[in-house]
């Protein structure tokens, strides 16, 4: 791959990442990946009426509460990020 091509490919990739939140890349950390997974899952639970009902029945909560708690959880589904190595 010529350096020029690499350069354009990268900018395109960055652009795509900015555009499509949740898309992975080669250097994705485990934390980022798992956080994306959880956010996707939580969004999917809120987005599919049957999944919301299912959780509401299992947990004895109202659907509104389930949706609210799931959306709240999207903020930080997997705890705080790991400490970044200072270099």
């Amino acid at each position: 791959m010529s350096s020029e091509l690499r350069y354009t490919a990268n900018t395109q990739l960055e652009h795509l990442h900015a555009r499509y939140t949740g898309t992975g890349h080669a250097d994705l950390s485990k934390y980022d990946w798992v956080t994306h997974q959880h956010r996707d899952t939580l969004a999917s639970i809120v987005g599919h009426p049957t999944l919301t009902s299912f959780l509401a029945i299992a947990d004895g909560e109202s659907k509104g509460r389930v949706k609210f708690e799931m959306t709240e959880k999207m903020l930080q589904p997997c705890g705080p990020p790991p400490r970044k190595d200072e270099d």
């Binding site: 900015a18 499509y20 939140t21 949740g22 956080t35 956010r39 996707d40 969004a43 999917s44 809120v46 987005g47 599919h48 009426p49 049957t50 999944l51 009902s53 299912f54 509401a56 029945i57 299992a58 947990d59 004895g60 909560e61 109202s62 659907k63 509104g64 509460r65 609210f68 959306t71 709240e72 999207m74 903020l75 930080q76 705890g79 705080p80 990020p81 790991p82 400490r83 970044k84």
Partner: protein
Amino acid sequence: MHLYNLTLQPPTATPQAIVGNFSGARQQEIITSHGTRLELLRPDPQTGKMATVIATDVFGSIRSLAAFRLTGGTKDYAIVGSDSGRIVILDYDPKTSSFVKLHQETYGKSGARRIVPGQYLATDPKGRSVMISSMEKTKLVYILNRDAAANLTISSPLEAHKANAIIHHIVGLDVGFENPMFAALEVDYTESDQDHTGQAFQNTEKMLTYYELDLGLNHVVRKWSEPTDRRANLLVQVPGGQLASSDRFDGPSGVLVCCEDHIIYRHMDARQHRVPIPRRKHPLEDPNRSIIIVTAVMHKMKGAFFFLLQSEDGDLYKVTIEHEEEEVRALKIKYFDTVPVASSLCILKSGFLFVAAEFGNHYLYQFQKLGDDDNEPEYSSTSYPSFGMSNPGAPLPHAYFRPRPLENLVVADEIESIEPIIDSKVLNVLPNSDAPQIFAACGRGARSTFRTLRHGLEVEESVSSELPGIPNAVWTTKRKEDDEYDSYIILSFVNGTLVLSIGETIEEVQDTGFLSSAPTLAVQQIGADALLQVHPQGIRHVLADRRVNEWRVPPGKTIVSATTNKRQVVVALSSAELVYFELDLDGQLNEYQDRKAMGSTVLALSIAEVPEGRQRTPFLAVGCEDQTVRIISLDPETTLEAISLQALTAPASSICIADMLDASINKTQPTMFVNIGLQNGVLLRTVLDPINGQLTDTRTRFLGTRPIRLIRVQIQRNPAILALSSRSWLNYTHQNLMHFTPLIFENFDYAWSFSAELSPEGLIGITGSTLRIFQIPKLGTKLKQDSMPLSYTPRKFITHPTNHYFYMIEGDHRVTGPDAAASKLDELRKQGQIIDDEVVDLPPEVFGRPKAPAGTWASCIRIIDPIEAKTVAVIPLDCNESAFSIAVVPFSARGGELHLVVGTAADTLISPRSCSSGFLRTYKFTDDGANLEFQHKTETDDVPLALLGFQGRLLAGVGKALRIYEIGKKKLLRKVENKSFASAIISLNTQGSRILVGDMQESVSFAVFKPPENRLLIFADDTQPRWVTAVAMVDYNTIAVGDRFGNVFVNRLDSKVSDQVDDDPTGAGILHEKGQLMGAPHKTKMLAHFHIGDMITSIHKVSLVAGGREILLYTCLHGTIGILVPFVSKEDVDFISTLEQHMRTEQSSLVGRDQLSWRGYYVPVKAVVDGDLCETFARLPAPKQSNIAAELDRTVGEVLKKLEQLRTTTSGF
């Protein structure tokens, strides 16, 4: 294997409902989304009943709905946000009674994704623009307008994205005619994602952001963004703006921000007002529990407005805003009433409140008053320092109200909803029933029900009275043509006729001109004001002045059969001759000069009603003893000439010609159907070609064991046919399509229409010597539901091998059970607290049981008698235990005595699953199964989620472990164990020594028990991870499975592997085989796959029709009941699949989802044909129908017949 999927009952859950004038008439209508279906409901303001106008499958998942109206318009449109990646604007066309897609704009990928809009919709109150938003980041704004021809136009989208922001809710602000504005509740996660200390997460703020659409510049700007309560969840629009005509403000504009425990009024550059959400003054109410508002509705009246907010407990609050021009003076909240927790509330201008319940039946309430002047405490923001905002971070002191029964609302109508179906069984327990019933455990919490579903129409009896003898026929008649109601009931006995007059009471009358000394064959109101009676000896024509013209039969002959309408009379004589009469213009009945000899005894005759504006109906159908039906002309040119002839398989017992509308055959005009009932109980329905009189398109149906009697009746002012055999059936038109449904009632010997003031739409029938007057209230429903209340959410139920009882387990999380509540109350009393008994004793069905923290359970075992539909016994569980599984086990160590084993767990937490201890409770059956005797309790280390009797022992799935238990004196004794399952075992099935183990996340594994080595071995599993919810064994090697995401699939094990495993005596072969793909050595092969769109909760292999084929019936969480029918021939597969292909191109989804990708949501569709799509063929316009039929080398009739046959022969529906 190739399957045909057909929905018997569409989903009844209503995730969203909107109100508007969708048909453009003055009346308001409601559109409800059923997840995968749109329904238009019309409430009748007079009767307060809701009626379905149309319901359509959309072949996609509806996530949001909004109604909007262009400025100055009179008609509302519906905007649909779905998982199609498209925004769709729908218009209801009242002419064709269908939804029309006006616009469909693509903006993203399909699927319910995190950054693809569709989750939230907000419209500008003036109908100028709409915002559609996703869960994260993406918001698009479309501008709506009119073009020169007054058609609705939609712009290209404008972006209002905010990266890394989670969106909780959006709403359109009411700003009058200024630039449209939208408010969004957003949380930015950029910083919390970077900060490893967690400090940023703590400090994250929830922002209330205003987006302004600048109509002049055509772009969207972020106008204003301010932090609000961190636990805010919902925004409600507050009226605002100025009318052009006056300088008065409608309201202050802005939003209500609903947060945990608080409501905040908020607007740009305006003072905030905050009030607490009042909570119940209940002794067991946990003061630390927070309350959120789950749904809200704003209602504008002339010069005023108010809000109804509903909390998650179902309490409605009335919120009002006192304002002076644009400045808010006070925000006030008070308790209004308590109704079931809703997913949507709709207020109608006619004074009704529609509550689309999130679980169970939906309700329509009528407002009695608006809670204006009652003693309910009202909480105002003015009573708090700085209007409640002196310290926004700290909660306001709790406000309380006393819950009470409804005061402001009264129930007007209840719409049955079977959702959620949690478990079901299909079997025939009812006596005198030839089709199985579906028993379903439905509902959630204290509103749960056990329902019996039977195929058929509900019948409502209003009068039942005994007669002196056994009549053989009944008629009703008006006296004059333009009478509104019937005047006489005529009963024919073997040797006489009885005439009853209908008035204040029903009593016998003598002077009617009818012959009472002979039986009657037919009664007709004829001409303008005359009556006609046909008896075996002649015809009596009773004129208005009681003069009687009598036509007598030639001596030695009698009349054997007769048919009449308003202008024509045909009688058949015992000499096999037909005599034809017609009314002339003077009201004289004239005999046609010739009699027609049939050559064979006539058994049945029929003519249709006189068509509107005509003199006569041109066709007569005659059923003869020689097993034929002949069509004879009554046209003046060719009177009594035979036109066509159809041979039958048995002699006809009854014939009925009726003009009925069936849109699948003719969209605009009624079709003339000749229904022929045979003596062997088979009904033939043929179409009479009005031009050449030929009989075409014959459909057959077996109705029952008795000869059929057919009667033309009026149902909702439309012609319908009652077919009486060993069951009674009704053939009627509903929403332009023909339906054929049995009546769930006693059998009738004869029946007729009945119309009186009290029962304008009734029917009258005789069974034995009983006369019954009845109505059919719910046309269009295919399943009649009878329900019985339960205490808690049902979890599972099972049948008993010898008695007819059902054993059900129920359990509710986060709820205080009655026993626990009573002991807590006692404790409180001892402490000297005064308990408000009225509040404590409020019915839990409406108010719910007292809420408790997570890990608290209320649970019981219930014994149900399904025949009587009543509870026989309830065994409550104590010690915070809840039941999760149940099985009847014949323990061979006790000589095969049946025991009931219930798997329970104490202090269970749902996520992550944990419990202080699991238990296996063993019970003995007493009183023939009507009661249980506790034996012992065995501890387990995890929650036992699946139990099954297996070879005289108990097979239990306890968490990840599969175990076999033997019964002991004090405990169950663990014998074998296999712990290699992935997450948790949730279902068990067995045949022989094979065990099918359904794992919560890892699909179904095939295991085998090898007694010589005492081993449980897994020998085969699936290649895909599946979140199993229901499993049924189709045969020894084949399973049908439903998963959590709405898929159903069929997997099969290679028969070679199956034999090999069965032939291996010790299982050593399996044990030493190499695992494949980090699992079992063998894999099952997927044979069929289909996405239903609703989560399957149970699958059964049953036969729904007596002597019919076995099919797979499934029930789903949102109330769907469907079947999977295996095709019998390759030709059928080819034919129906080709039809499906054509339908895919012709019938595009209403939400813009591609049908093929919808049915292959997670895995591509395999070997399943979408019957629901194919059946929409009947609704296609005629040219398209004939095009498709031509491509298939069939006629339209043949295609329709095939579709109907697939439905009726397998399900009977």
